[in-house]
C-alpha cells in the first residue's frame, strides 16, 4: 500500500487540507495514546516505581568522611589544604619574591599539579584565605586563590623561575619573571576579608596520585600520596612599612588526607637557598559522589516501562491492523510518524518531569540526612541551575528514549525486538562498565545511548584537582552535554530510518 507520487500529488490537490491538518493528526494520535487504559496505568507505574526505587535506594546509602576537623574554605565548602609552608608574618601591604631553582618529585615522576612557589595566606589554619603564585611540572605558572580560582601564567614548566606576590589592601597581584628583572603580571585576585597581618612565604605541595588498577575482576582507583622537593633562592619579603625583619618558621599545614609521617615534609636553609619538601594539595575537595544522580536511582526502572509504551504505541497498530486505517485516513506516513513522535515525546517528558522532580525532592533530603552533606560533599539546592538541568534533562532523556523506542517500533514492527534493541544498549553499558578497564568503560558510556544519562551530572570536575571519575558512578569526563548529544544523534538516525522504511514498505 505504498503511497505513490501520484497519490501524494492527489492528496495535495484534493480537499484534504481541512481534515488532514497536522494539528488534527496530533490530536488523533493523542487520543489513541490516552485511550488505552493499560498504557496510562504503565505511565503511572513508571512514575511510582521511579520515585519509590529512588527513595528506597537513597535510604540505603550512608556516606561518611569529614569529621569536625575537616577544613572549610571561605565559601563554606570543604577544601583540601595541606602543604609545606615556610612562612613569616607580614603586616599591612608588601610583597614576597622567590626564585624557584628546581622542582623535583620525590621517588619517581612528579605529579603534573605539584606546586612550588610563593603564597600569602590569612593564617596557618587549614581552609583560610590565600593567594599563591606557583610553578607546576605539567601546567606551567599558575596564580591560584581561595581554593577555586586558577589563572594560567606562562607555560614555563622548568625552573628556574622568579615568582612574586604583592599585597595592596584586599587585592593580591601575581608576577612572574624569567630573569628577576623583567616582570610580567599574571593577574590580580581579590581576598575581601584578608586581615592586616598575614603569613607569607614559600609553599611546596604534591597532590596524591590516582592510579586505576584492576583486581578481582573490577577496576579500582588507588590513591597514592606523592611528595616533591623544591629549592628556592633570592627569597625576599618586603613590607611597605619597614619594621624588624621577622624570623622564618616552617610547618606542614594539615589536611584531611592522612599524609604519612614520612611525607609530612621538611625545610632546610643553607646559605640563601631554601630546600623544601612537601606533600598534599590545595584546592576544592573533589566531589566523587553526585547527590542529584544518587537521588535519581529509580530512573532506569521507569525508563524501561516508558520505552515499552512508546514501542507499543506503533507496534500494536501493526498487530491489530489499525495501521491500515491510520494510513488510509492520513496517507502521508511521515506526518503520521511525526505526530506520533510529538505525542509520545511530550507525554513522556511530562511524565519524566514529574518522576524525576519528585525523586529528587524526596530522595535528596534523605541522602543529606544520611551524611551526604557539607563540608565533605556539596549538596546543591533543588533550585540550583545544575539540579534543574539534571531534572529537566532526565525528562528530556526519557522523551528522547521514547522517540527512539517509537522509531525502533516503526523499523521492526514487532514489540519484543524493538523493546530489546532500545533497552539493552541503554542498560548493559552501565551494568558492565564496572568490570571493564576505565578507558573501555568511558568509551562504552560515550558511544551507546546510555551516554544520555550524562545530563544527570551535577558535580563539577575541576581540571586542576585530580578526582575519581568513574563512568558507572555517573561521572562523565566529557560533561553533561556531549552524551546528551550522542543520544539525540541516535534518536535522529533511528527516526530517519523509521521514516524511510515506513514510506518504502507496504504496511
Amino acid at each position: 500500500m505504498a503511497t505513490t507520487a501520484a497519490e501524494r500529488q492527489a492528496d495535495r490537490h484534493a480537499g484534504w487540507d481541512g481534515r488532514d491538518s497536522f494539528g488534527r493528526l496530533v490530536l488523533a494520535e493523542w487520543t489513541k495514546l490516552r485511550s488505552v487504559p493499560r498504557w496510562a496505568m504503565a505511565m503511572l507505574a513508571a512514575v511510582v516505581l521511579t520515585v519509590l526505587v529512588s527513595v528506597l535506594a537513597a535510604s540505603g546509602n550512608i556516606y561518611g568522611g569529614g569529621g569536625p576537623g575537616f577544613p572549610v574554605g571561605p565559601d563554606g565548602s570543604g577544601v583540601r589544604d595541606s602543604f609545606y609552608f615556610v612562612h613569616q608574618p607580614l603586616t599591612g601591604d608588601g610583597s614576597v619574591t622567590a626564585k624557584v631553582l628546581s622542582q623535583t618529585g620525590v621517588e619517581g615522576e612528579s605529579h603534573e599539579w605539584a606546586k612550588a612557589g610563593v603564597i600569602i595566606k590569612e593564617s596557618t589554619k587549614p581552609g583560610s584565605q590565600y593567594a599563591a603564585m606557583m610553578i607546576t611540572p605539567g601546567h606551567g605558572v599558575r596564580l591560584q586563590s581561595n581554593f577555586t580560582t586558577d589563572r594560567a601564567g606562562s607555560e614555563a614548566t622548568t625552573a628556574p623561575r622568579w615568582l612574586r606576590l604583592t599585597r595592596s589592601g584586599t587585592s593580591v597581584t601575581g608576577y612572574e619573571s624569567a630573569d628577576g628583572a623583567n616582570w610580567a603580571q599574571v593577574g590580580t585576585v581579590q581576598l575581601p576579608a584578608l586581615p592586616r597581618r598575614v603569613e607569607v612565604g614559600l609553599l611546596v605541595a604534591s597532590p596524591p596520585a590516582l592510579k586505576v588498577e584492576r583486581q578481582f575482576g573490577s577496576g579500582s582507583v588507588g590513591i597514592f600520596p606523592t611528595s616533591s622537593t623544591a629549592r628556592f633562592g633570592d627569597v625576599a619579603v618586603t613590607a611597605a612599612q619597614p619594621g624588624r625583619p621577622a624570623p622564618w618558621s616552617d610547618q606542614a599545614i594539615g589536611g584531611p588526607e592522612r599524609v604519612p609521617e614520612s611525607l609530612l615534609g621538611s625545610a632546610t636553609r643553607a646559605g640563601g637557598v631554601f630546600t623544601v619538601t612537601g606533600s598534599g594539595d590545595i584546592g576544592p575537595n573533589p566531589q566523587d559522589v553526585d547527590g542529584v544522580r544518587a537521588s535519581l536511582t529509580g530512573v532506569p526502572l521507569g525508563v524501561v516501562v516508558i520505552i515499552a509504551v512508546a514501542v507499543l504505541f506503533i507496534t500494536s497498530e501493526y498487530r491489530q491492523g489499525l495501521i491500515r486505517t491510520t494510513f488510509a485516513a492520513s496517507p502521508r506516513r511521515g506526518r503520521v510518524l511525526a505526530a506520533k513522535a510529538i505525542v509520545v515525546a511530550a507525554t513522556t517528558f511530562v511524565v519524566g518531569l514529574v518522576a524525576s522532580f519528585a525523586s529528587v525532592l524526596i530522595a535528596l533530603p534523605i541522602l543529606r540526612s544520611n551524611g551526604l552533606a557539607p563540608p565533605v560533599f556539596q549538596v546543591p539546592s533543588l533550585w540550583d541551575g545544575p539540579v534543574l538541568r539534571a531534572i529537566t534533562g532526565t525528562a528530556a532523556v526519557l522523551a528522547l528514549l521514547a522517540v527512539l523506542g517509537l522509531a525502533a517500533g516503526a523499523i521492526l514492527r514487532r514489540s519484543p525486538g524493538a523493546i530489546v534493541v532500545v533497552v539493552v544498549p541503554l542498560l548493559i553499558p552501565q551494568l558492565i562498565a564496572g568490570a571493564l578497564p576505565l578507558a573501555a568503560a568511558r568509551w562504552l558510556m560515550l558511544v551507546t545511548p546510555a551516554a544520555g544519562f550524562s545530563i544527570q551530572q551535577t558535580t563539577v570536575q575541576r581540571y586542576f584537582v585530580s578526582s575519581i571519575c568513574l563512568p558507572e558512578d555517573g561521572c562523565f569526563t566529557t560533561g553533561p552535554w556531549v552524551g546528551f548529544g550522542v543520544l539525540c544523534a541516535y534518536t535522529a538516525v533511528a527516526l530517519a530510518a523509521g521514516l524511510w522504511l515506513l514510506r518504502r514498505r507496504d504496511v
Binding site: F216, P300, L301, A308, R319, V423, V424, I432, A435
Partner: protein, 281 residues
C-alpha cells in the same frame, strides 16, 4: 509473530492417542516453524560468543599491579557474554507462549489438548531443551574464544592463568552452570510470558528482573544492603555459578546463587501454571 504455525501435529494422530511424544512433537513443530526461532537461536549463540570475546579482549594485565595480583577470574571473564546472549533466550521463551496468544493459536492448542498444565510443561520442556542446546554452543564458543585471546593479553600459564579447560573442575562447573543458567532464564521467560500473556509486558518484566534489579543494587552503596540486593537479583545471583576463584569473596556459593535464579524461574512457572489453569484462554 505471524500465523505460520501449523495445526498442532498431535491433531494428525488425533483421537485419544495423546502421548507425551506427540505433545512434545507438536510443541517442537510450533517452535521451529515460527520464522523468528532460528534467528533467535542464532542470536543467542552469536551474541554470547561475540560479547564474550569482546569483553575478554578489553581486559589485559597492564592495569594490574602485576599479572599475578590481577586475581582475574579468566573463566568468568570469558563467559561474560552470556549477559547479552540471554536476551535472545528471553525473547525466544517469552514469544513461545505470548506468540500463541497474539495469533490466537492458543485456542487451537487447548482445543486439541485440554490438559493445560501438560501443555505448558511440554512447551517449557521444548523451549528449555532448545535453549540448553544453543547455550552449550554459546558457552563452548566463548571458552574457545577466551582460550585464544587470554594468553595474548598477558594471562599466561607462567603468571598463574592456565589455559581454560573443561578438564578443570571449577571451569567445568562454571561452563555447565552457565548452560543451566540459560535454561533457567528460559523457564523464567515462559513462566512470565504465560502469566502476562502479552509479549511486550512479559519482556519488560523479565528485562527489569534481570537488568534493572542489579543496576539498582549497583547504586546502593551501603554494604549490607548492596550485598542483600546482589544476592536477591536473579542475574547477579545466578551468574555466581561462573566464579572459579576467590569464591570466599562471593556473597553466595556458586550453586546457591544458581538456586536463587531457579527459585525465580520456579515461582514464575508456578504462577504461570496457576493462571493458565484458572483463566479463560
Amino acid at each position: 509473530m505471524s500465523a505460520t504455525t501449523e495445526p498442532p501435529a498431535a491433531a494428525v494422530g488425533c483421537g485419544r492417542g495423546h502421548t507425551l511424544g506427540h505433545a512434545l512433537h507438536a510443541e517442537w513443530t510450533k517452535l521451529r516453524t515460527v520464522p523468528s526461532t532460528p534467528w533467535l537461536v542464532l542470536a543467542a549463540v552469536a551474541f554470547t560468543v561475540a560479547a564474550s570475546a569482546a569483553l575478554t579482549a578489553s581486559v589485559d594485565t597492564s592495569l594490574c599491579p602485576s599479572p599475578l595480583e590481577c586475581h582475574e577470574d579468566t573463566t568468568k571473564l570469558s563467559l561474560g557474554g552470556v549477559q547479552f546472549g540471554q536476551l535472545a533466550v528471553v525473547a525466544l521463551a517469552v514469544l513461545a507462549i505470548t506468540g500463541e496468544y497474539g495469533t490466537g493459536t492458543i485456542q487451537t492448542t487447548l482445543a486439541a489438548r485440554p490438559h493445560r498444565a501438560a501443555v505448558l510443561l511440554t512447551k517449557a520442556a521444548v523451549v528449555t531443551a532448545t535453549v540448553l542446546a544453543a547455550g552449550t554452543l554459546g558457552v563452548l564458543g566463548s571458552l574457545a574464544a577466551g582460550r585464544a585471546i587470554l594468553p595474548g593479553n598477558g594471562f599466561t600459564a607462567a603468571d598463574g592463568y592456565p589455559p581454560l579447560s573443561l578438564a578443570d573442575g571449577p571451569t567445568l562447573r562454571a561452563a555447565a552452570g552457565t548452560v543451566l543458567y540459560l535454561g533457567l532464564v528460559a523457564l523464567l521467560g515462559v513462566g512470565v510470558g504465560t502469566a502476562v500473556r502479552d509479549s511486550a509486558g512479559a519482556i519488560v518484566t523479565v528485562l527489569a528482573l534481570l537488568y534493572v534489579f542489579p543496576m539498582i543494587a549497583m547504586f546502593v552503596t551501603d554494604p549490607p544492603w548492596h550485598e542483600r540486593l546482589v544476592k536477591l537479583a536473579p542475574m547477579t545471583a545466578g551468574l555466581m555459578i561462573q566464579a572459579t576463584r576467590d569464591l570466599e569473596r562471593l556473597p553466595l556459593r556458586p550453586w546457591a546463587g544458581l538456586a536463587v535464579l531457579a527459585a525465580y524461574a520456579g515461582a514464575a512457572m508456578l504462577l504461570g501454571l496457576v493462571l493458565f489453569a484458572a483463566r479463560d484462554a
